[in-house]
């Protein structure tokens, strides 16, 4: 069903179920002496109710379509993860270069020369952070 409000209700209910069922694995205890699972379980129940109301209510109000674009979010996430992986195994300078070259695919235009300029600027900023602000970045 392509209705934003309905999907929202379903997502909320799913999250509530996820947290609620996991909470049952922890000790619940009694209200007076509650265990680790009691409070998350209570909140999950309340959240489930809210999700249910949202889903039911969606039938009574105007429908709005869900619009999304997988390409941009995927590119941005990939560049973040790539940055972390490259920084961990190689160094952060290469990570920055990867971040710039990968993420700009999501932009309206692509230019290698411009990307080189952006990378150089960002690397310079990273050096400034490391040397003047005392952040410990694994740059090289």
């Amino acid at each position: 069903m392509n209705s934003r409000n309905f999907v929202r209700g379903v997502v909320i209910m799913a999250l509530a179920l996820l947290f609620g069922i996991v909470a049952l694995n922890y000790k619940l205890g009694t209200l007076g002496r509650s265990g680790a699972g009691m409070f998350p379980f209570m909140v999950s129940c309340a959240l489930f109710v809210v999700g249910l109301i949202t889903a039911v209510r969606s039938f009574f109000i105007e429908r709005l379509a869900v619009d999304y674009d997988v390409k941009n979010i995927a590119l941005v996430l990939a560049s973040l993860v790539g940055f972390a992986v490259i920084s961990e195994y190689l160094n952060m300078i290469l990570g920055i270069v990867f971040l710039v070259f990968c993420s700009t695919f999501a932009g309206t235009s692509y230019s290698v020369f411009r990307n080189i300029k952006i990378s150089v600027c960002l690397i310079a900023i990273a050096f400034a952070f490391k040397n003047f602000l005392g952040l410990s970045l694994p740059l090289y």
Binding site: R4, V7, R8, V11, I12, L15, F19, V22, Y26, K27, L31, G32, S34, A36, M38, F39, P40, V43, S44, L47, V50, G51, I53, T54, R57, F60, I61, E62, V66, Y68, N72, I73, V76, L77, S79, L80, V81, F83, A84, S87, L99, V100, S103, T104, A106, G107, T108, R114, N115, I118, C121, L122, I125, A126, F129, L133, G134, L135, S136, L137
Partner: protein
């Protein structure tokens, strides 16, 4: 008299060369980042938080506060010149942008700057007198009262920020649940950690803030294929005397409204702006001009914005409960520096408290003498195309999350929350209540469990204590009002479906 003495002490703290520098730096960087499309105060603060880690506590707060109001001013600048609204400057878009269309950009920017100054000054007087007084009240709060206050905060923030109680509440609860991730302080059980070592301490607040606000906003702008037209008009700043006289009454009105609304739970700049704008529409001498680009429409809301931003520090510093998402971030910054905001803060760290109060006023001066004249240069940020800007923003997000714990794992967490934030964004779920829920979640659990322990599992404790009973009755009034509003709208909708369709959406969400 004591107040003056305290303020003098505060200025003594704030007027060191170092702290002045931090204040100026915070204001300038805050304005600059706040100007960027899609970056409101929340994301600006979370982006710049790492800059303050290596600075001593006093200077760090002064800089953060500077970043906060700098970001707010930057927001209103982009709203006035280019009609790019953020959560904190929706109202500035109305008359401010109309003034730009009339070629009075400079006047609008000056009005916004000077009104912020007036609003800030009024609010500081309120802050300096009210916070210590409310701090006394804070000592009367028991666990049940804290629970009720936090719940009220959730309800108010949910309602104010998303316009729909149900949505906002859901987000606040998701936030509370996310706050549960990590080790349970009472029993030592690791909850929701999926056996990942770096989740033992919980999810980082900055990861959530940057994911939901920074990354999700960047992707949203990319999806919209926003091409910004940079502002190229002339800017003449100084107003004439008759124009200046029009600023004053409406700025003062806005200051008072903002100061009051800033203190209330769930209050803060956004709602204060709307209230001040509405008041101007009703009481101003020039009310017939409002909406067409007149000075009052800018002055009142800017003053209210700034005043509410200041006074919303009061509940945080006096009772220890942040009332909106920005304050939740501020609270996290306090805790990073080893200071627990609450009734004891003013007594145990008077230098920090009064120094911060004084520095707020100094920050205001910086805003007027530094940022307002220089704003034409700041605006050149917009000549940078977005395709250059957004890799830089992503880079700052990465550095920001990394430098909290010097851990690359946090970047993965940020990426996950970027995805979640994008999902929420596409489903129209406002992330601000989530932030508040996340910060307050552990405190809520702690106080709830304590209250239940005291009452041996009896819920009556919430109704028998006067403070919590009052707060809870306010909540029930809000709930009843919302439900009846929804059913009334639904009934109307059934009678004439085509006509009322637009009305239902804002009323019921």
């Amino acid at each position: 008299m004591e107040l003056l003495h305290n303020l003098a002490f505060g200025f003594e703290q704030a007027l060191t060369l170092q702290n002045l520098l931090y204040c100026a730096l915070g204001c300038t960087v805050g304005t600059l980042i706040g100007l960027l499309p899609g970056l409101g105060p929340l994301s600006t603060i979370s982006l710049l938080l790492p800059l303050t880690y290596s600075i001593p506590a006093g200077g760090a707060f002064i800089m953060l506060a500077g970043i906060y109001y700098g970001a707010q001013y930057g927001d209103s600048v982009s709203a006035i010149t280019m009609k790019i609204p953020h959560a904190s400057s929706i109202v500035a878009c109305i008359d401010g942008y109309q003034m730009t269309l009339k070629g009075k950009t400079g006047l609008a920017l000056f009005t916004a700057g000077i009104s912020s100054f007036i609003g800030g000054t009024v609010a500081i007087v309120v802050l300096a007198t009210m916070a210590p007084m409310l701090g006394e009240v804070g000592f009367l709060f028991g666990p049940a009262d804290y629970c009720a206050l936090m719940l009220l905060g959730f309800f108010c923030v949910s309602f104010v920020s998303s316009g729909s109680l149900l949505n906002g509440l859901a987000m606040a609860m998701i936030g509370v649940l996310l706050g549960m991730i990590g080790t349970d302080v009472n029993s030592g059980v690791a909850r929701y950690t999926m056996n990942l070592a770096f989740l033992q301490d919980g999810v980082g607040l900055i990861s959530i803030a940057l994911g939901c606000f920074g990354i999700a906003e960047v992707v949203k702008n990319l999806d919209n294929k926003n091409v910004l037209t940079p502002f190229n008009g002339k800017i003449k700043l100084m107003p004439t005397w008759p124009e200046f006289k029009r600023i004053l009454p409406s700025a003062l009105r806005g200051s008072v409204i903002g100061s009051v609304l800033g203190i209330l739970p769930g209050g803060g700049p956004t709602i204060a702006q709307f209230a001040a704008y509405a008041a101007d529409k009703k009481f101003s001498k020039y009310k017939h001009e409002i909406g067409t680009g007149c000075i009052e429409g800018v002055a009142g809301q800017a003053a209210a914005d700034e005043a509410a931003a200041r006074t919303s520090f009061i509940p945080l510093m006096a009772i220890g409960i942040p009332e909106n998402a920005v304050m939740a971030l501020m609270m996290a910054a306090f805790i990073v520096k080893g200071i627990q905001p609450g009734p004891n803060m003013i007594a145990s760290h008077p230098d920090l408290f009064w120094g911060l109060v004084a520095s707020m006023w100094i920050g205001n001066c910086f805003l007027v003498i530094l940022n307002v004249p220089l704003v034409r240069y700041w605006l050149s940020v917009f000549k940078i195309p977005y395709v250059v800007l957004f890799p830089a923003i992503l880079f700052f997000c990465c550095i920001g999350t990394y430098s909290i714990n010097n851990s690359l794992d946090d970047i993965y967490t940020t990426a996950v929350f970027g995805l979640i934030g994008y999902l929420f964004l596409r489903l129209d779920m406002e992330a601000a209540p989530l932030m508040l829920g996340f910060i307050l979640g552990p405190m809520l659990e702690e106080n709830f469990r304590r209250a239940m322990l005291l009452s041996r599992g009896d819920f009556n404790i919430f109704v028998t204590r006067p403070i919590s009973a009052t707060l809870l009755s306010v909540i029930s009034i809000v709930v009843i009002w919302q439900t009846t509003a929804f059913f009334r709208a639904a009934r109307k909708n059934r009678n004439k479906p085509a006509l009322v369709a637009e009305e239902v959406a804002p009323a019921a969400g």
